[in-house]
Protein backbone atom coordinates (compact mmCIF):
# COMPACT_ATOMS: atom_id res chain seq x y z
CA UNK A 1 0.00 0.00 0.00
CA UNK A 2 1.40 3.35 -0.98
CA UNK A 3 0.18 6.83 -1.82
CA UNK A 4 0.52 9.04 -4.84
CA UNK A 5 -0.97 12.21 -6.28
CA UNK A 6 -2.86 12.97 -9.49
CA UNK A 7 -3.13 16.66 -10.37
CA UNK A 8 -6.73 17.55 -11.27
CA UNK A 9 -5.55 18.81 -14.66
CA UNK A 10 -4.47 15.27 -15.52
CA UNK A 11 -7.67 13.46 -14.51
CA UNK A 12 -9.05 13.62 -18.03
CA UNK A 13 -5.78 12.16 -19.35
CA UNK A 14 -6.09 9.36 -16.83
CA UNK A 15 -9.67 8.54 -17.87
CA UNK A 16 -8.59 8.54 -21.52
CA UNK A 17 -5.60 6.34 -20.64
CA UNK A 18 -7.95 3.87 -18.95
CA UNK A 19 -10.53 3.89 -21.71
CA UNK A 20 -7.86 3.20 -24.32
CA UNK A 21 -7.15 -0.08 -22.48
CA UNK A 22 -10.68 -1.26 -21.64
CA UNK A 23 -14.17 0.00 -21.03
CA UNK A 24 -14.45 2.59 -18.27
CA UNK A 25 -17.59 2.79 -16.17
CA UNK A 26 -18.34 5.90 -14.12
CA UNK A 27 -21.29 7.82 -12.69
CA UNK A 28 -23.15 9.84 -15.31
CA UNK A 29 -26.07 12.21 -14.85
CA UNK A 30 -29.60 11.25 -15.91
CA UNK A 31 -31.12 14.62 -14.94
CA UNK A 32 -33.45 15.13 -11.97
CA UNK A 33 -30.44 14.72 -9.66
CA UNK A 34 -30.27 11.03 -10.57
CA UNK A 35 -27.26 9.11 -11.76
CA UNK A 36 -26.23 5.75 -13.12
CA UNK A 37 -22.98 3.91 -13.69
CA UNK A 38 -22.42 3.82 -17.42
CA UNK A 39 -19.67 3.63 -19.99
CA UNK A 40 -17.60 6.79 -20.48
CA UNK A 41 -14.52 7.68 -22.48
CA UNK A 42 -13.61 11.09 -21.12
CA UNK A 43 -13.91 13.19 -17.98
CA UNK A 44 -16.62 15.53 -19.28
CA UNK A 45 -19.10 12.63 -19.36
CA UNK A 46 -18.55 11.88 -15.68
CA UNK A 47 -20.43 13.40 -12.75
CA UNK A 48 -17.76 13.56 -10.07
CA UNK A 49 -20.13 15.02 -7.51
CA UNK A 50 -23.03 12.61 -7.56
CA UNK A 51 -25.47 11.11 -5.09
CA UNK A 52 -25.76 7.29 -5.12
CA UNK A 53 -26.69 5.99 -8.56
CA UNK A 54 -30.14 4.40 -9.12
CA UNK A 55 -28.57 0.93 -9.25
CA UNK A 56 -25.38 0.21 -7.32
CA UNK A 57 -22.31 -1.20 -9.11
CA UNK A 58 -23.50 -4.71 -8.15
CA UNK A 59 -25.00 -4.82 -11.65
CA UNK A 60 -21.48 -5.43 -12.96
CA UNK A 61 -20.74 -8.14 -10.38
CA UNK A 62 -24.04 -10.00 -10.64
CA UNK A 63 -25.93 -8.70 -13.68
CA UNK A 64 -29.74 -8.51 -13.67
CA UNK A 65 -29.78 -11.44 -16.09
CA UNK A 66 -26.80 -13.78 -16.04
CA UNK A 67 -26.14 -16.96 -18.02
CA UNK A 68 -25.05 -19.91 -15.88
CA UNK A 69 -25.27 -22.77 -18.36
CA UNK A 70 -25.79 -23.29 -22.06
CA UNK A 71 -27.76 -26.42 -22.82
CA UNK A 72 -28.72 -28.62 -25.72
CA UNK A 73 -31.36 -31.31 -25.31
CA UNK A 74 -31.15 -32.78 -28.81
CA UNK A 75 -29.06 -35.66 -27.42
CA UNK A 76 -30.15 -35.72 -23.79
CA UNK A 77 -29.41 -33.25 -21.00
CA UNK A 78 -26.17 -31.79 -22.39
CA UNK A 79 -24.73 -28.62 -20.92
CA UNK A 80 -21.72 -26.37 -20.62
CA UNK A 81 -21.20 -24.00 -17.71
CA UNK A 82 -20.20 -20.48 -18.72
CA UNK A 83 -19.38 -17.09 -17.27
CA UNK A 84 -20.02 -13.95 -19.27
CA UNK A 85 -17.13 -11.60 -18.54
CA UNK A 86 -15.88 -8.23 -19.65
CA UNK A 87 -12.84 -6.30 -18.51
CA UNK A 88 -14.06 -3.09 -16.93
CA UNK A 89 -12.65 -0.31 -14.80
CA UNK A 90 -15.22 1.12 -12.39
CA UNK A 91 -14.20 4.69 -11.63
CA UNK A 92 -15.63 6.93 -8.93
CA UNK A 93 -17.16 4.31 -6.65
CA UNK A 94 -18.13 5.76 -3.27
CA UNK A 95 -17.18 4.08 0.01
CA UNK A 96 -20.75 2.88 0.63
CA UNK A 97 -20.71 1.01 -2.66
CA UNK A 98 -17.22 -0.38 -2.02
CA UNK A 99 -18.64 -1.74 1.23
CA UNK A 100 -21.54 -3.25 -0.71
CA UNK A 101 -19.16 -5.07 -3.03
CA UNK A 102 -17.20 -6.35 -0.01
CA UNK A 103 -20.45 -7.82 1.35
CA UNK A 104 -21.22 -9.54 -1.96
CA UNK A 105 -17.64 -10.87 -2.05
CA UNK A 106 -18.18 -12.47 1.36
CA UNK A 107 -21.44 -14.12 0.32
CA UNK A 108 -20.22 -15.51 -2.97
CA UNK A 109 -16.87 -16.72 -1.70
CA UNK A 110 -18.57 -18.45 1.24
CA UNK A 111 -18.71 -22.22 0.64
CA UNK A 112 -20.04 -23.56 -1.63
CA UNK A 113 -18.29 -20.85 -3.64
CA UNK A 114 -20.03 -19.19 -6.56
CA UNK A 115 -17.53 -19.36 -9.38
CA UNK A 116 -19.70 -17.40 -11.77
CA UNK A 117 -19.41 -14.41 -9.45
CA UNK A 118 -15.79 -14.94 -8.48
CA UNK A 119 -14.51 -15.34 -12.03
CA UNK A 120 -16.36 -12.26 -13.26
CA UNK A 121 -15.05 -10.23 -10.32
CA UNK A 122 -11.48 -10.85 -11.48
CA UNK A 123 -12.17 -8.92 -14.65
CA UNK A 124 -13.18 -5.80 -12.74
CA UNK A 125 -10.94 -3.01 -11.49
CA UNK A 126 -12.29 -0.74 -8.77
CA UNK A 127 -11.31 2.88 -8.35
CA UNK A 128 -12.95 4.48 -5.33
CA UNK A 129 -13.78 8.13 -4.75
CA UNK A 130 -14.19 9.66 -1.31
CA UNK A 131 -17.30 11.64 -0.34
CA UNK A 132 -16.06 14.90 1.15
CA UNK A 133 -19.57 15.73 2.32
CA UNK A 134 -22.98 14.07 2.69
CA UNK A 135 -24.80 13.27 -0.53
CA UNK A 136 -28.24 13.98 0.94
CA UNK A 137 -30.36 13.40 4.04
CA UNK A 138 -31.26 9.80 3.14
CA UNK A 139 -27.71 8.55 3.67
CA UNK A 140 -26.83 6.80 6.92
CA UNK A 141 -23.24 5.86 6.17
CA UNK A 142 -21.74 7.28 9.37
CA UNK A 143 -23.72 5.00 11.67
CA UNK A 144 -22.18 2.10 9.76
CA UNK A 145 -18.76 3.78 9.50
CA UNK A 146 -18.87 3.54 5.74
CA UNK A 147 -18.15 7.23 5.14
CA UNK A 148 -14.43 6.43 5.25
CA UNK A 149 -12.51 4.06 2.98
CA UNK A 150 -12.14 0.55 4.39
CA UNK A 151 -10.48 -1.21 1.50
CA UNK A 152 -12.02 -3.26 -1.25
CA UNK A 153 -10.61 -1.01 -3.99
CA UNK A 154 -7.60 -1.12 -6.32
CA UNK A 155 -7.12 2.65 -6.20
CA UNK A 156 -8.85 5.19 -4.01
CA UNK A 157 -9.15 8.88 -4.91
CA UNK A 158 -9.72 11.72 -2.46
CA UNK A 159 -10.31 15.16 -3.91
CA UNK A 160 -8.08 17.90 -2.47
CA UNK A 161 -7.74 21.53 -3.63
CA UNK A 162 -5.62 20.96 -6.75
CA UNK A 163 -5.09 17.27 -6.91
CA UNK A 164 -6.37 13.83 -5.97
CA UNK A 165 -4.78 11.99 -3.09
CA UNK A 166 -4.55 8.42 -4.35
CA UNK A 167 -4.23 5.32 -2.18
CA UNK A 168 -2.79 2.38 -4.08
CA UNK A 169 -4.21 -0.78 -2.60
CA UNK A 170 -3.37 -3.60 -5.00
CA UNK A 171 -0.82 -4.69 -7.54
CA UNK A 172 -3.40 -4.05 -10.23
CA UNK A 173 -3.83 -0.48 -8.99
CA UNK A 174 -0.08 0.02 -8.86
CA UNK A 175 0.24 -1.10 -12.45
CA UNK A 176 -2.26 1.54 -13.62
CA UNK A 177 -0.35 4.24 -11.76
CA UNK A 178 2.98 3.11 -13.23
CA UNK A 179 1.84 2.56 -16.79
CA UNK A 180 -0.13 5.80 -17.07
CA UNK A 181 2.88 7.90 -16.03
CA UNK A 182 0.47 10.63 -14.91
CA UNK A 183 0.96 10.49 -11.15
CA UNK A 184 3.21 12.65 -8.96
CA UNK A 185 5.09 11.92 -5.76
CA UNK A 186 3.30 12.41 -2.49
CA UNK A 187 4.08 15.69 -0.72
CA UNK A 188 3.54 17.03 2.78
CA UNK A 189 1.03 19.63 1.67
CA UNK A 190 -1.30 16.93 0.34
CA UNK A 191 -0.78 14.87 3.50
CA UNK A 192 -1.82 17.92 5.50
CA UNK A 193 -4.87 18.59 3.34
CA UNK A 194 -6.04 15.00 3.67
CA UNK A 195 -5.66 15.10 7.46
CA UNK A 196 -7.62 18.34 7.52
CA UNK A 197 -10.39 16.85 5.37
CA UNK A 198 -10.66 13.82 7.60
CA UNK A 199 -10.92 16.03 10.69
CA UNK A 200 -13.63 18.05 9.00
CA UNK A 201 -15.46 14.85 8.09
CA UNK A 202 -15.32 13.67 11.67
CA UNK A 203 -17.28 16.77 12.63
CA UNK A 204 -19.66 16.51 9.72
CA UNK A 205 -20.41 12.77 9.67
CA UNK A 206 -22.02 11.83 12.99
CA UNK A 207 -23.95 8.62 13.53
CA UNK A 208 -27.37 9.38 12.07
CA UNK A 209 -29.17 7.23 14.59
CA UNK A 210 -28.44 7.24 18.31
CA UNK A 211 -27.33 3.64 18.53
CA UNK A 212 -23.90 2.05 18.74
CA UNK A 213 -22.85 -0.17 15.84
CA UNK A 214 -22.46 -3.24 18.04
CA UNK A 215 -25.93 -2.77 19.56
CA UNK A 216 -27.80 -2.77 16.25
CA UNK A 217 -28.31 -6.56 15.83
CA UNK A 218 -29.78 -6.82 19.32
CA UNK A 219 -32.25 -4.05 18.56
CA UNK A 220 -33.66 -6.11 15.72
CA UNK A 221 -33.76 -9.23 17.83
CA UNK A 222 -35.72 -7.49 20.55
CA UNK A 223 -38.21 -5.76 18.26
CA UNK A 224 -39.17 -8.77 16.16
CA UNK A 225 -42.79 -8.60 17.33
CA UNK A 226 -42.92 -4.79 17.36
CA UNK A 227 -46.04 -3.00 15.99
CA UNK A 228 -43.60 -0.90 13.94
CA UNK A 229 -43.53 -3.78 11.43
CA UNK A 230 -47.31 -3.66 11.22
CA UNK A 231 -47.15 0.01 10.26
CA UNK A 232 -44.33 -0.52 7.77
CA UNK A 233 -46.22 -3.46 6.25
CA UNK A 234 -49.38 -1.40 5.83
CA UNK A 235 -47.47 1.19 3.84
CA UNK A 236 -45.31 -1.12 1.72
CA UNK A 237 -46.45 -1.66 -1.88
CA UNK A 238 -44.20 -4.73 -2.23
CA UNK A 239 -42.84 -3.27 -5.48
CA UNK A 240 -39.36 -4.60 -4.75
CA UNK A 241 -37.63 -1.27 -5.48
CA UNK A 242 -35.73 -1.43 -2.18
CA UNK A 243 -34.15 -4.80 -2.97
CA UNK A 244 -33.28 -4.00 -6.56
CA UNK A 245 -31.43 -0.82 -5.65
CA UNK A 246 -29.74 -2.32 -2.57
CA UNK A 247 -25.99 -2.85 -2.99
CA UNK A 248 -26.11 -5.99 -0.81
CA UNK A 249 -29.37 -7.67 -1.88
CA UNK A 250 -28.33 -10.70 -3.88
CA UNK A 251 -31.40 -12.98 -3.97
CA UNK A 252 -32.10 -14.47 -7.37
CA UNK A 253 -34.32 -16.77 -9.33
CA UNK A 254 -33.03 -19.45 -11.69
CA UNK A 255 -34.87 -20.13 -14.95
CA UNK A 256 -34.41 -21.47 -18.46
CA UNK A 257 -34.54 -19.43 -21.65
CA UNK A 258 -35.02 -21.80 -24.56
CA UNK A 259 -34.06 -20.70 -28.07
CA UNK A 260 -36.79 -20.77 -30.67
CA UNK A 261 -35.76 -24.25 -31.84
CA UNK A 262 -36.69 -25.45 -28.33
CA UNK A 263 -33.63 -27.71 -28.15
CA UNK A 264 -30.87 -25.25 -27.26
CA UNK A 265 -31.05 -22.56 -24.64
CA UNK A 266 -29.58 -21.00 -21.54
CA UNK A 267 -30.12 -21.46 -17.83
CA UNK A 268 -30.02 -17.97 -16.34
CA UNK A 269 -30.32 -16.30 -13.00
CA UNK A 270 -32.31 -13.14 -12.57
CA UNK A 271 -32.50 -10.73 -9.63
CA UNK A 272 -35.40 -11.67 -7.40
CA UNK A 273 -36.91 -9.97 -4.38
CA UNK A 274 -37.97 -11.25 -0.97
CA UNK A 275 -40.59 -8.49 -1.06
CA UNK A 276 -42.65 -10.33 -3.68
CA UNK A 277 -45.45 -12.47 -2.40
CA UNK A 278 -44.44 -15.59 -4.34
CA UNK A 279 -40.81 -15.49 -3.23
CA UNK A 280 -41.10 -17.94 -0.31
CA UNK A 281 -43.89 -20.06 -1.75
CA UNK A 282 -43.46 -23.85 -1.89
CA UNK A 283 -44.90 -26.30 -4.41
CA UNK A 284 -47.84 -27.06 -2.11
CA UNK A 285 -48.88 -23.41 -2.41
CA UNK A 286 -47.99 -22.37 1.12
CA UNK A 287 -46.19 -19.03 1.41
CA UNK A 288 -43.98 -18.56 4.44
CA UNK A 289 -43.89 -14.79 4.47
CA UNK A 290 -47.37 -14.06 3.28
CA UNK A 291 -47.81 -10.63 4.85
CA UNK A 292 -46.01 -7.51 3.67
CA UNK A 293 -44.94 -6.83 7.24
CA UNK A 294 -43.23 -10.26 7.42
CA UNK A 295 -41.37 -9.57 4.24
CA UNK A 296 -40.36 -6.06 5.22
CA UNK A 297 -39.12 -7.27 8.61
CA UNK A 298 -37.22 -10.05 6.86
CA UNK A 299 -35.44 -7.53 4.67
CA UNK A 300 -34.41 -5.30 7.59
CA UNK A 301 -33.20 -8.33 9.51
CA UNK A 302 -31.25 -9.45 6.47
CA UNK A 303 -29.33 -6.20 6.67
CA UNK A 304 -28.89 -5.69 10.40
CA UNK A 305 -29.17 -9.06 12.12
CA UNK A 306 -28.83 -12.27 10.10
CA UNK A 307 -25.59 -11.41 8.24
CA UNK A 308 -24.01 -10.44 11.55
CA UNK A 309 -24.65 -13.99 12.78
CA UNK A 310 -23.32 -15.49 9.57
CA UNK A 311 -20.66 -13.11 8.28
CA UNK A 312 -19.94 -10.90 11.33
CA UNK A 313 -20.88 -7.84 9.33
CA UNK A 314 -23.89 -5.54 8.95
CA UNK A 315 -25.08 -5.66 5.37
CA UNK A 316 -26.50 -2.14 5.27
CA UNK A 317 -23.95 0.16 3.65
CA UNK A 318 -25.74 3.41 4.52
CA UNK A 319 -26.11 4.46 0.88
CA UNK A 320 -29.74 5.46 1.53
CA UNK A 321 -30.97 4.05 -1.80
CA UNK A 322 -33.89 2.10 -0.29
CA UNK A 323 -35.27 5.19 1.43
CA UNK A 324 -34.61 7.37 -1.60
CA UNK A 325 -36.43 5.04 -3.99
CA UNK A 326 -39.33 3.90 -1.79
CA UNK A 327 -42.70 4.89 -3.25
CA UNK A 328 -44.24 4.67 0.21
CA UNK A 329 -41.36 6.63 1.73
CA UNK A 330 -40.51 3.93 4.20
CA UNK A 331 -37.36 5.49 5.59
CA UNK A 332 -34.62 3.33 7.02
CA UNK A 333 -33.50 5.81 9.68
CA UNK A 334 -37.09 6.54 10.73
CA UNK A 335 -37.80 2.83 11.00
CA UNK A 336 -34.76 2.25 13.20
CA UNK A 337 -35.71 5.23 15.35
CA UNK A 338 -39.26 3.93 15.68
CA UNK A 339 -37.93 0.53 16.76
CA UNK A 340 -35.71 2.17 19.36
CA UNK A 341 -38.60 4.21 20.75
CA UNK A 342 -40.74 1.11 20.81
CA UNK A 343 -38.18 -0.77 22.86
CA UNK A 344 -37.95 1.85 25.59
Amino acid sequence: MNQTLLPKTRLDDFIRFLSARQKVIAPVSLGNNQYKFDEVSSLDEISLHYIPTILPPKKYYMPQHETLLKYDVSKGQEMEAVVEVEELVLFGVHTCDLAGIQCLNMVFSDRPKDLHYLIRKNYLTLIGLECNDYCDSYANCAMLRNHLPKGGHDLFFTELADCYYVHVNTHRGDELVEKSGLFDEMNTQAEGELAELRTRKKERFKSEVAIRYQDIPRLFDETFESPVWEDVGNRCLACGNCTNVCPTCYCFDVMDEPDLDLTKGRRIRVWDSCQHEVFAKVAGGESFREERKDRKRHRFNRKFKYPVDRYRRIFCTGCGRCSRTCMAKIDLKETINALMEERE
Partner: protein
Amino acid sequence: MGRPKVAFFDLSCCEGCQLQVANLGEDLLDVLELIDLVEFREVMSEKWEGRYDLAIVEGSVVNDESEQRVRQIRDRCNVLIAYGSCATIGGVNGMKNRRPIEESQAAVYGDKTDWFPATKTRTVDQVVKVDYYIHGCPIYPPEFIKVLKAALAGLSYPVPDFAVCVECKFNENVCMYDKGVTCLGPITRAGCNSWCINAGNVCYGCRGMVSNPNRNGAEDVLRRYDLNPELIANKMMMYNAAKESTDE
Protein backbone atom coordinates in the same frame (compact mmCIF):
# COMPACT_ATOMS: atom_id res chain seq x y z
CA MET B 1 -45.82 -35.46 -36.63
CA GLY B 2 -45.93 -32.26 -38.67
CA ARG B 3 -45.51 -28.76 -37.42
CA PRO B 4 -48.35 -27.51 -35.23
CA LYS B 5 -51.21 -25.77 -37.06
CA VAL B 6 -51.44 -22.24 -35.77
CA ALA B 7 -54.13 -19.65 -36.55
CA PHE B 8 -54.53 -15.99 -35.57
CA PHE B 9 -57.97 -14.49 -35.01
CA ASP B 10 -59.26 -11.06 -34.18
CA LEU B 11 -62.44 -10.05 -32.36
CA SER B 12 -63.11 -6.40 -31.44
CA CYS B 13 -59.75 -4.66 -31.49
CA CYS B 14 -57.50 -2.46 -33.55
CA GLU B 15 -55.47 -5.44 -34.84
CA GLY B 16 -52.38 -3.67 -33.56
CA CYS B 17 -51.21 -6.84 -31.84
CA GLN B 18 -51.31 -8.71 -35.13
CA LEU B 19 -49.20 -5.93 -36.51
CA GLN B 20 -46.67 -6.49 -33.71
CA VAL B 21 -46.44 -10.14 -34.75
CA ALA B 22 -46.18 -9.27 -38.45
CA ASN B 23 -43.38 -6.84 -37.52
CA LEU B 24 -41.31 -9.41 -35.60
CA GLY B 25 -38.79 -9.24 -38.43
CA GLU B 26 -36.16 -11.95 -38.45
CA ASP B 27 -37.73 -13.60 -35.42
CA LEU B 28 -40.89 -14.09 -37.46
CA LEU B 29 -38.94 -16.19 -39.96
CA ASP B 30 -37.69 -18.36 -37.09
CA VAL B 31 -41.23 -18.65 -35.74
CA LEU B 32 -42.48 -19.72 -39.16
CA GLU B 33 -39.88 -22.51 -39.23
CA LEU B 34 -41.52 -23.86 -36.12
CA ILE B 35 -45.21 -23.66 -36.95
CA ASP B 36 -47.57 -24.22 -39.83
CA LEU B 37 -49.41 -20.92 -40.10
CA VAL B 38 -52.88 -21.69 -41.43
CA GLU B 39 -54.80 -18.44 -40.85
CA PHE B 40 -53.62 -14.90 -40.25
CA ARG B 41 -55.81 -12.23 -41.78
CA GLU B 42 -53.27 -9.45 -41.72
CA VAL B 43 -50.62 -11.35 -43.67
CA MET B 44 -52.42 -14.03 -45.72
CA SER B 45 -55.79 -14.79 -47.25
CA GLU B 46 -55.90 -18.59 -46.93
CA LYS B 47 -58.45 -20.27 -44.66
CA TRP B 48 -58.18 -23.61 -42.93
CA GLU B 49 -61.04 -26.01 -42.39
CA GLY B 50 -59.41 -28.50 -40.00
CA ARG B 51 -58.45 -28.44 -36.37
CA TYR B 52 -56.00 -25.90 -34.91
CA ASP B 53 -53.28 -26.98 -32.52
CA LEU B 54 -52.97 -23.40 -31.40
CA ALA B 55 -55.43 -20.53 -31.76
CA ILE B 56 -54.14 -17.06 -30.96
CA VAL B 57 -57.03 -14.70 -30.31
CA GLU B 58 -56.95 -10.91 -30.22
CA GLY B 59 -59.80 -8.58 -29.28
CA SER B 60 -62.75 -8.59 -26.89
CA VAL B 61 -66.21 -10.04 -27.08
CA VAL B 62 -68.67 -7.18 -27.60
CA ASN B 63 -71.72 -8.78 -29.23
CA ASP B 64 -73.44 -12.12 -29.71
CA GLU B 65 -71.78 -12.68 -33.04
CA SER B 66 -68.27 -12.42 -31.58
CA GLU B 67 -69.28 -14.65 -28.67
CA GLN B 68 -70.40 -17.33 -31.10
CA ARG B 69 -67.21 -16.90 -33.08
CA VAL B 70 -64.88 -17.32 -30.11
CA ARG B 71 -66.84 -20.37 -28.95
CA GLN B 72 -66.36 -21.92 -32.39
CA ILE B 73 -62.65 -21.16 -32.28
CA ARG B 74 -62.37 -22.78 -28.85
CA ASP B 75 -64.19 -25.88 -30.12
CA ARG B 76 -61.80 -26.20 -33.02
CA CYS B 77 -58.51 -25.67 -31.16
CA ASN B 78 -56.44 -27.62 -28.65
CA VAL B 79 -54.75 -24.67 -27.03
CA LEU B 80 -55.96 -21.07 -26.95
CA ILE B 81 -53.78 -18.01 -26.36
CA ALA B 82 -55.53 -14.72 -25.63
CA TYR B 83 -53.24 -11.88 -26.67
CA GLY B 84 -53.48 -8.16 -26.27
CA SER B 85 -55.32 -6.21 -23.57
CA CYS B 86 -58.66 -6.36 -25.43
CA ALA B 87 -58.61 -10.14 -25.24
CA THR B 88 -57.01 -10.59 -21.80
CA ILE B 89 -58.50 -7.79 -19.69
CA GLY B 90 -61.00 -6.09 -21.99
CA GLY B 91 -58.69 -3.19 -22.76
CA VAL B 92 -60.10 0.10 -24.03
CA ASN B 93 -63.26 -1.71 -25.16
CA GLY B 94 -64.06 -2.09 -21.48
CA MET B 95 -64.67 1.65 -21.14
CA LYS B 96 -68.19 1.25 -22.50
CA ASN B 97 -69.06 -0.90 -19.48
CA ARG B 98 -68.83 2.18 -17.32
CA ARG B 99 -72.26 3.37 -18.41
CA PRO B 100 -75.47 1.70 -19.53
CA ILE B 101 -75.03 -0.09 -22.85
CA GLU B 102 -77.95 1.83 -24.40
CA GLU B 103 -76.16 5.12 -23.75
CA SER B 104 -73.00 3.95 -25.48
CA GLN B 105 -74.97 2.59 -28.42
CA ALA B 106 -76.93 5.80 -28.79
CA ALA B 107 -73.75 7.87 -28.65
CA VAL B 108 -72.08 5.84 -31.38
CA TYR B 109 -74.90 4.74 -33.68
CA GLY B 110 -77.58 7.38 -33.04
CA ASP B 111 -80.91 6.30 -34.54
CA LYS B 112 -79.30 3.26 -36.22
CA THR B 113 -78.75 1.51 -32.89
CA ASP B 114 -80.98 -1.41 -33.87
CA TRP B 115 -78.70 -2.24 -36.78
CA PHE B 116 -75.78 -2.91 -34.45
CA PRO B 117 -76.76 -5.16 -31.53
CA ALA B 118 -74.15 -5.05 -28.78
CA THR B 119 -73.45 -6.53 -25.36
CA LYS B 120 -71.21 -5.41 -22.54
CA THR B 121 -67.51 -5.90 -23.27
CA ARG B 122 -66.16 -9.25 -22.12
CA THR B 123 -62.66 -10.65 -22.06
CA VAL B 124 -62.02 -13.90 -23.92
CA ASP B 125 -61.78 -15.82 -20.65
CA GLN B 126 -65.18 -14.52 -19.58
CA VAL B 127 -66.59 -16.57 -22.48
CA VAL B 128 -64.27 -19.56 -23.08
CA LYS B 129 -61.31 -21.23 -21.38
CA VAL B 130 -57.97 -19.53 -22.03
CA ASP B 131 -54.70 -21.47 -21.71
CA TYR B 132 -52.18 -18.66 -22.07
CA TYR B 133 -52.28 -14.91 -21.60
CA ILE B 134 -50.15 -12.32 -23.37
CA HIS B 135 -51.11 -8.97 -21.89
CA GLY B 136 -50.35 -5.55 -23.27
CA CYS B 137 -51.58 -2.84 -25.61
CA PRO B 138 -49.95 -3.72 -27.81
CA ILE B 139 -48.29 -7.00 -26.82
CA TYR B 140 -44.55 -6.84 -26.09
CA PRO B 141 -43.01 -8.90 -28.92
CA PRO B 142 -40.35 -10.71 -26.83
CA GLU B 143 -43.08 -11.83 -24.43
CA PHE B 144 -45.13 -13.09 -27.37
CA ILE B 145 -42.21 -15.29 -28.41
CA LYS B 146 -41.68 -16.45 -24.84
CA VAL B 147 -45.32 -17.53 -24.51
CA LEU B 148 -45.31 -19.13 -27.94
CA LYS B 149 -42.29 -21.22 -26.94
CA ALA B 150 -44.00 -22.27 -23.71
CA ALA B 151 -47.20 -23.19 -25.57
CA LEU B 152 -45.31 -25.21 -28.19
CA ALA B 153 -43.39 -27.03 -25.46
CA GLY B 154 -46.60 -27.66 -23.52
CA LEU B 155 -45.34 -25.74 -20.50
CA SER B 156 -47.18 -23.20 -18.39
CA TYR B 157 -46.36 -19.49 -18.67
CA PRO B 158 -46.93 -17.72 -15.38
CA VAL B 159 -47.46 -14.00 -16.02
CA PRO B 160 -45.13 -12.11 -13.65
CA ASP B 161 -47.15 -11.07 -10.62
CA PHE B 162 -44.99 -8.19 -9.51
CA ALA B 163 -44.99 -4.51 -10.44
CA VAL B 164 -43.60 -2.96 -13.62
CA CYS B 165 -41.30 -1.05 -11.21
CA VAL B 166 -39.16 -4.18 -10.94
CA GLU B 167 -38.26 -4.24 -14.61
CA CYS B 168 -38.10 -0.44 -14.66
CA LYS B 169 -35.44 -0.57 -11.94
CA PHE B 170 -33.56 -3.28 -13.85
CA ASN B 171 -33.48 -0.79 -16.72
CA GLU B 172 -32.38 2.00 -14.38
CA ASN B 173 -34.95 4.54 -15.52
CA VAL B 174 -35.51 7.73 -13.55
CA CYS B 175 -38.78 7.18 -11.69
CA MET B 176 -41.67 9.04 -13.30
CA TYR B 177 -42.87 10.15 -9.86
CA ASP B 178 -39.51 11.86 -9.35
CA LYS B 179 -40.20 13.71 -12.57
CA GLY B 180 -43.56 14.71 -11.17
CA VAL B 181 -45.53 12.52 -13.55
CA THR B 182 -48.14 9.92 -12.59
CA CYS B 183 -47.34 6.41 -13.71
CA LEU B 184 -49.31 3.19 -13.15
CA GLY B 185 -46.15 1.08 -12.98
CA PRO B 186 -46.35 0.45 -9.22
CA ILE B 187 -49.66 -1.43 -9.48
CA THR B 188 -49.38 -2.89 -12.98
CA ARG B 189 -48.00 -6.37 -13.50
CA ALA B 190 -44.64 -6.69 -15.19
CA GLY B 191 -43.59 -8.71 -18.23
CA CYS B 192 -43.22 -5.83 -20.69
CA ASN B 193 -39.65 -4.95 -19.63
CA SER B 194 -41.01 -1.45 -18.74
CA TRP B 195 -41.22 -0.84 -22.47
CA CYS B 196 -43.10 2.45 -22.27
CA ILE B 197 -41.00 4.01 -19.54
CA ASN B 198 -37.78 3.04 -21.31
CA ALA B 199 -39.08 5.11 -24.21
CA GLY B 200 -39.87 8.12 -22.03
CA ASN B 201 -43.59 7.44 -21.65
CA VAL B 202 -45.53 6.54 -18.49
CA CYS B 203 -47.19 3.21 -17.71
CA TYR B 204 -50.91 3.22 -18.59
CA GLY B 205 -51.67 -0.06 -16.83
CA CYS B 206 -52.40 -1.95 -20.05
CA ARG B 207 -51.31 -5.30 -18.57
CA GLY B 208 -53.78 -5.23 -15.70
CA MET B 209 -53.16 -4.97 -12.00
CA VAL B 210 -50.95 -7.18 -9.83
CA SER B 211 -53.08 -9.74 -8.03
CA ASN B 212 -52.75 -8.40 -4.51
CA PRO B 213 -52.12 -4.66 -4.62
CA ASN B 214 -51.86 -2.76 -1.35
CA ARG B 215 -54.77 -0.42 -2.02
CA ASN B 216 -54.44 1.59 1.20
CA GLY B 217 -50.70 1.90 0.75
CA ALA B 218 -51.15 3.02 -2.84
CA GLU B 219 -53.59 5.73 -1.77
CA ASP B 220 -51.08 6.93 0.81
CA VAL B 221 -48.48 7.20 -1.92
CA LEU B 222 -50.80 9.22 -4.14
CA ARG B 223 -51.57 11.61 -1.30
CA ARG B 224 -47.87 12.00 -0.68
CA TYR B 225 -47.34 13.02 -4.29
CA ASP B 226 -50.43 15.22 -4.08
CA LEU B 227 -52.35 13.14 -6.55
CA ASN B 228 -56.05 12.46 -6.52
CA PRO B 229 -56.80 8.72 -6.10
CA GLU B 230 -59.86 9.14 -8.31
CA LEU B 231 -57.70 10.43 -11.11
CA ILE B 232 -55.57 7.31 -10.87
CA ALA B 233 -58.64 5.08 -10.66
CA ASN B 234 -59.87 6.72 -13.84
CA LYS B 235 -56.53 6.17 -15.52
CA MET B 236 -56.63 2.52 -14.50
CA MET B 237 -60.16 2.23 -15.93
CA MET B 238 -58.83 3.03 -19.38
CA TYR B 239 -57.73 -0.58 -19.75
CA ASN B 240 -59.27 -2.44 -16.84
CA ALA B 241 -62.95 -1.51 -16.81
CA ALA B 242 -64.19 -4.79 -18.28
CA LYS B 243 -62.60 -6.79 -15.46
CA GLU B 244 -63.69 -4.35 -12.75
CA SER B 245 -67.33 -4.23 -13.79
CA THR B 246 -67.79 -8.00 -13.71
CA ASP B 247 -65.44 -8.97 -10.90
CA GLU B 248 -67.54 -6.92 -8.46
